[in-house]
Symmetry: C2
Subunit: 247 residues, 2 copies
């Protein structure tokens, strides 16, 4: 019986990894992952065997990880953020066939949480996580979800808000959410390079966000109707103020 | 300048804490928190000063943490799961007044992620997190969000699905989501006591979930229309299957 761990690394810095993620990588004979994520753990485990594939190589990467585990090796498939949220846990479980490979999913801090902490507390109340990548999802479905998130006055974390081919997707997403009821003055924020060198963030309105140029290393946060900027932080109240008359 | 860390512990087990959470608690002179969460860290830091308040004592707890920090002590306010998601980061930032207290939010693994890992990969695609507690949120707003989450075919993690006073809320939530378009055969799951003694989980349909009795230590997961049960795991595909013809 060999083990295949699907490991959420968090944003990349060792400080934001869980002890369980470290233990899984330590127990593994081979580390598999997207080239950029393997680089994140290269310094921690220089001696371990590695198998890396570039972006779009997800199916090959997961098949190889399962093969290696079937051959008797313990394998850690590393993912940035959480192992599940847009991560490899789903595909590994879809492709797994060998009952002699025991698959464990190790949760990690996804960008909605790590980026949220940088901005303050943008997701203290009900929220949605939506990816703007239409590589494997019809844009019509993404648009429907943006609309429903706005109608429900959810806080929203947007993943993959932009890429070279999708430079105007964030602008489109802002327009859709404003049409569906989010006010242009809704408090929003973005965080770039979370937990890594060059980390930076900005708090701005939804109308301003529409004009903002962000890249693929950025996570975007849209507040709900009660989100405020307090002392330079983005804060979505849980409701203590209204209930207990705080402030 | 003293420090106030608002720390997400994850579900409670040290294995699921981040290194940063441990460092923040180690740097603190005083640990503040809800009585049950202080118990989670009592064994790790028996020598540290503690300030605990029971449930509903959140405002008192945050004010005390800010007071202690203003008096020059370094303070860690511990929260289960993430520091932001239904956690104390929001209230601390709302109440903070002393510019001499530097507030840092330390993200943690929220139950949507830690519970998701136990079930498999239920939240691999866009998802919502919704609390069924109407203590500080009108039920009408919760109902609207459940409806919007169903209309958008989101995966959903439900927090606080039940309590003594709210024994039928999960049933009501299931009915609302079925009315709004979730099929009764939607694959769902629940996890109880995540990462703690007595951890257990079940995968079932939405129609079955409607009849299930769950408690306040349970997190509930509702799949999207593509979620499947695969080898006893709850899996929401990201879309590789459709795109690359896997399986």
């Amino acid at each position: 019986m060999s083990k295949l761990y699907v490991v959420g690394l968090g944003p990349g810095a060792p400080a934001l990894m869980t002890a369980q993620a470290r233990e899984a990588m330590e127990a593994a004979d081979v580390l598999c992952g997207y080239t950029a994520y393997i680089k994140l753990v290269e310094d921690l485990y220089p001696e371990k065997e590695k198998f890396a594939t570039p972006m779009m190589g997800e199916v090959e990467r997961c098949k190889k990880a399962l093969e290696l585990a079937s051959s008797g090796k313990n394998v850690a498939m590393v993912c940035s953020g959480d192992a599940g949220v847009y991560g490899m846990a789903g595909l590994i479980l879809e492709l797994a066939e060998d009952p002699e490979v025991e698959i464990s999913v190790v949760a990690g801090v996804t960008a909605a949480l790590s980026g949220g902490a940088v901005l303050g507390a943008p997701l203290t109340h009900d929220f949605c996580v939506i990816s703007l990548s239409d590589l494997m999802t019809d844009w019509a479905l993404i648009e429907k979800r943006l609309r429903c998130a706005a109608m429900g006055d959810f806080g929203v974390a947007l993943y993959n808000p932009s890429s070279k081919k999708r430079h105007d997707y964030l602008q489109k997403a802002c327009d859709i959410m404003m049409e569906a009821g989010k006010a242009p003055e809704t408090v929003c924020g973005w965080v770039r390079n979370i937990g890594r060198e060059g980390e930076c963030c900005r708090i701005l309105t939804l109308a301003e966000l529409r004009e903002e140029q962000v890249d693929m290393f950025t996570t975007v946060f849209i507040g709900n109707s009660k989100t405020r900027e307090i002392n330079g932080r983005m804060v979505t109240p849980r409701g203590y103020g209204e209930k207990y008359g705080v402030k």
